[in-house]
């Protein structure tokens, strides 16, 4: 067989190769990936740009750390990737090689992309069990409610949450730490291809940090690409990051390994500011 490729640009070429390989060996799962090409994010209401062109390709399951000072644009970028209406997005965002910028948030989620939010919302009058049962049935193809609830119980347990939490109203009256853990369990329930975790470790006590790390590990084991936004190098004591991204003032100023975490721990972000300025920031 002769394969003729008209190469348009690099990522199209790579995708075609990947899909071609996948078609040759269908039992091998085509690698799920998230790609951002020169993504710029501005606030619709004010027009203010807060992310100034981020390019990143996350191509294999693993943990991708995003660090950066407060206000660097980490959460905004994550929410923009999910399609939050507050943001205008330029550039291209591909999931599994397909441009998702025209899709609604729910459609993105159904395609395997989700975000553990920094501010999970309360859903009054709706039990945790109902939310989880619906999610597990939809995302994991489980048909029986009993089976779905069994799995929900197990996921809660992974995060050290009691099974009795299933009977509570979703997020209502929960402590900060409980919210974080429940939110992670929810993301786990979705078995996402790509999970963006926005500070799942903040407000979580020292011992629970290990549980959060376990959950992140489980996501990776189940094949997810995990993008972990964090301020706490502590969490990384339990995890092995694939890559570390450092954001400053709406730009990715450094990509590397664990040594970047150590540098931030020791020096703060001064050096990152320097890099940002040399990249054209004011």
């Amino acid at each position: 067989m002769i394969l003729v490729l008209i190469v348009v640009d690099e990522e199209v070429f790579i995708n075609m190769c990947l899909h071609y390989l996948a078609s040759l060996a269908p039992q091998v799962r085509c690698v799920d990936l998230l790609e951002l090409y020169d993504v710029k994010v501005s606030v619709k209401e004010t027009g203010r740009r807060i992310v100034h062109g981020v390019t990143a390709r996350l191509t294999k399951p693993g943990i991708y750390i995003v660090m950066g000072p407060n206000g660097a644009g980490k959460s905004s970028l994550a929410n923009a990737v999910m399609g939050h209406e507050a943001y205008r997005v330029e550039g291209r965002i591909l999931l599994d090689g397909q441009d998702i910028t025209g899709l609604s948030t729910a459609e993105r989620a159904l395609r395997g992309l989700t975000l553990a939010s920094q501010n999970p919302e309360e859903i009054e009058g709706v039990r945790v069990s109902e939310v989880f049962a619906r999610i597990i049935k939809r995302f994991r193809g489980v048909e029986s409610t009993a089976e779905a609830l069994g799995l929900a119980r197990e996921l809660l347990e992974t995060l050290g949450l009691p099974a009795s939490m299933l009977n509570r109203e979703y997020m209502v009256g929960m402590s900060g730490g409980e919210r974080k853990k429940l939110e992670l369990a929810r993301v786990l329930a979705q078995k996402p291809k790509v999970a963006l975790l926005d500070e799942p470790d903040s407000g979580v006590d020292v011992e629970s940090l290990r549980l959060v790390a376990n959950a992140v590990g489980r996501l990776v084991d189940e094949g997810s690409i995990v993008v972990l936004i964090t301020h706490q190098p502590r969490l990384l004591h339990y995890l092995e990051p694939s890559e570390v991204y450092v954001m400053y003032n709406g730009r990715v100023v450094a990509v590397g390994g664990y040594e970047l975490v150590e540098r931030i721990e020791n020096e703060g972000y001064g050096w990152a500011a320097q890099l940002a300025r040399s990249a054209g920031a004011p």
Binding site: H84, T105, S117
Partner: protein, 448 residues
């Protein structure tokens, strides 16, 4: 089902119901073979209507129904038993539980379960029959009927008393508690004044009953008015739960009258309405708590849509020391629907230590829906404690966004939030009703 032998050929049949004469009422009552005292109640209502001013919201709707249409509706409800069963099924009633009473006729369904239940009830001294029958056979009825729904209470009640026909009479002797709810289904089978059923419930000391009534139509009607009535008397230590589910099709104007009198001490009465489709709805359920330490709840959940116009004016009156109660209204207003809520709690002088609480929560869906809430608490007794709170909310974008992260579309998320919003009231209702409410909400918000 047999007709009542009222002739529709007589002259003057084409006048509107608001123009009936004294003779019309006398004749209506005679032909029904009612005892004198019932006719007197109808005439009292007639006199009251003559002497009180017209109310557009009530008279305006009844003017569109002629006496002929009213009588014809009673004689042939153009509804076969199977249509009735089907309509009841849509209200979530299982066929094996059906006992249908409508427009004054009890439809005999050859149904073993219903017969067994009725036999069992009879053996315990429970009376469960039609009001048409009860006024003739049970002298006790005279002591209660139209004393809660007094014909001079207000204009709507007067119309109801003047024109009532059919409905159930339920009597529970001392100490009889029915663990399973009893259900009734009222069906408007044709245009006009479809329903003037009268429900009378009497619970003796320590008795307990959950009465569920469903109101519906089998087909979309061009025009119908529902003017049903319910009155109940609750003695010491007795507990009464009434749940009414309304889900009409077509142009149906829903204006029932309801009143519960809690006579005994340490008793409880609860009026729940679950309101879905109707063109207009004008309700004013009342509970009067006369028994020391007795409690009451008037609650409504509603989902209003299209161009629905809904006015709710519940009234809870605490007459006795340590009487307490609550008025709860949880409604979702959608499309161009318009809701007005005028809930009232009164503590009468002498109701020392009475406690009343009112809570009105509205969830608005869409920009064109409207809602007005005017809660009122009036205390003539300084040692009574009445309070209220109200909230009007929308589903925020952030909530929809958050739920979208879980893969829920806007419709699905809205539907879940609405179910959750109703839940504080719904989760205490019988399971069948819960299931039904969920189904109706699903149909309204998801279209399936």
């Amino acid at each position: 089902m047999a007709g009542r032998g009222l002739s529709v050929k007589e002259a003057g049949m084409d006048k509107p119901l608001t123009d009936l004469s004294r003779d019309d009422i006398v004749e209506f009552s005679r032909k029904r073979g009612e005892p004198e005292w019932v006719m007197r109640r109808r005439l009292e209502a007639y006199e009251y209507l003559k002497s009180s001013p017209r109310e557009p919201l009530i008279d305006g709707l009844l003017e569109k129904v002629t006496y002929r249409v009213f009588i014809e509706g009673l004689e042939n409800p153009i509804l076969s038993v199977s249509e009735a069963v089907e309509a009841a099924r849509r209200l979530g009633v299982r066929p094996e539980e059906i006992e249908i009473i409508y427009s004054g006729f009890s439809v005999d369904i050859d149904n073993v379960m219903v017969k067994t239940t009725l036999k069992y009830l009879k053996s315990r001294g429970v009376v469960f029959t039609s009001m048409d029958d009860a006024v003739k056979r049970y002298p006790l009825v005279k002591d209660y009927a139209f004393r809660g729904l007094n014909p001079t209470l207000n204009r709507k009640t007067a119309y109801h008393v003047m024109l009532w026909s059919g409905g159930p009479f339920i009597y529970l002797p001392r100490g009889v508690r029915l663990p399973q709810p009893l259900q009734g289904v009222f069906i408007i089978g044709r245009e006009g004044l479809g329903q003037t059923e009268h429900t009378l419930i009497v619970l003796e000391n320590g008795a307990e009953l959950h009465w569920i009534e469903g109101c519906t139509t089998p087909i979309a009607l061009r025009y119908a008015v529902h003017l049903g009535g319910l009155e109940a008397f609750v003695m010491s230590g007795a507990k009464l739960y009434v749940t009414s589910i309304n889900n009409w099709l077509g142009e149906v104007h829903h204006m029932p009258v309801k009143r519960v009198i809690v006579r005994g001490k340490q008793a409880y009465a609860e009026l729940t309405s679950v309101a879905f489709r109707s063109t207009t709805s004008n309700t004013a359920p009342r509970i009067d708590v006369y028994g020391e330490g007795s409690k009451a709840t008037i609650q409504n959940i509603g989902l209003y849509q299209g161009e629905q116009r809904v006015r709710g004016s519940p009234l809870l009156t605490l007459h006795a020391p340590r009487a307490s109660g609550q008025v709860l209204n949880r409604t979702v207003v959608k499309d161009e629907a318009f809701e007005e809520f005028y809930g009232r709690i009164r503590a009468v002088k002498g109701a020392v230590g009475a406690v009343g609480y009112m809570s009105c929560n509205t969830l608005m869906l869409g920009e064109r829906a409207r809602s007005i809430t005017v809660p009122a608490v009036e205390s003539e007794e300084k040692n009574a404690e009445l309070s209220h709170e109200a909230s009007v909310g929308r589903i925020s974008y952030n909530k929809l966004y958050y739920m979208a992260l879980m893969g829920f579309s806007e419709e699905e998320a809205t539907w879940m939030v609405v179910n959750g919003f109703f839940n504080p009231v719904v989760h205490k209702l019988p399971l069948d009703v819960q299931v039904e409410v969920r189904k109706i909400v699903e149909l309204a918000l998801l279209g399936h």
